[in-house]
Subunit: 123 residues, 2 copies
């Protein structure tokens, strides 16, 4: 939803964002693993971890995710609520970033092992 609003400047009303991004101390390992246990979310995290903070709309495009923007927003919500990524809005664009430092602090080695695994196919 957020992505759709951002992608269409005609609807530039304030973005309502009810997603809670947890503090690192509140991360739950099963929830982090569940967030990463989907091949599209996994490919997204692997891509963004390599490229650094990325414009959400471009992430979808560059990876070639076969889904609508609203579906991507749903996946983004799951990743944010687990603590895997954070989102920042600047003007009409949203950017996402992997919370690698927080994840490394809570679960040392987990994200590196996932990033070092072969990138998953998304098609």
């Amino acid at each position: 939803m957020i992505i759709e609003l951002c992608a269409n400047p005609r609807y530039s009303r304030p973005v309502i964002d009810d997603v809670t991004e947890p503090a690192a101390a509140d991360f739950e390992l099963p929830r982090v693993l569940a967030a990463l246990a989907d091949r599209h979310r996994l490919a997204t995290v692997q891509f963004v971890a390599r490229t650094g903070e990325s414009w959400c709309a471009r992430v979808m495009q560059d990876i070639g995710l076969p889904m609508s923007k609203s579906t991507f927003s749903h996946h983004l919500r799951i990743l944010r609520e687990a603590g895997v990524v954070t989102k920042r809005t600047e003007g009409t664009k949203s950017y996402m970033c992997v919370r690698k430092a927080d994840l490394d602090a809570r679960f040392p080695g987990l994200i590196d092992s996932i990033l070092n695994a072969d990138a998953e196919m998304v098609s």
Copy 2:
């Protein structure tokens, strides 16, 4: 189901086991993560990785898993089909073991990072 048969020698008919444990080369990271993304399965894997090959019925008891034997068998199936654990039957007892060498070979560091995380609460 298998566990129930093993626990009751009166029903000592041949155990039908239709679970396919994949070769390490066929492991899929999203599937492994999904298998570990449940707090009861995660606690089981953390426990068995620490204790070594374990009698399935005792694993449930020692961790204090709040579930029926058939539910535990369902979780065991998910772990086996992802490649996280293997099961061996000896007489009327079933034993499970974490496939750490195979997991380390395919996803270096993944299982260690999960085992080094604080053991999850299961109650």
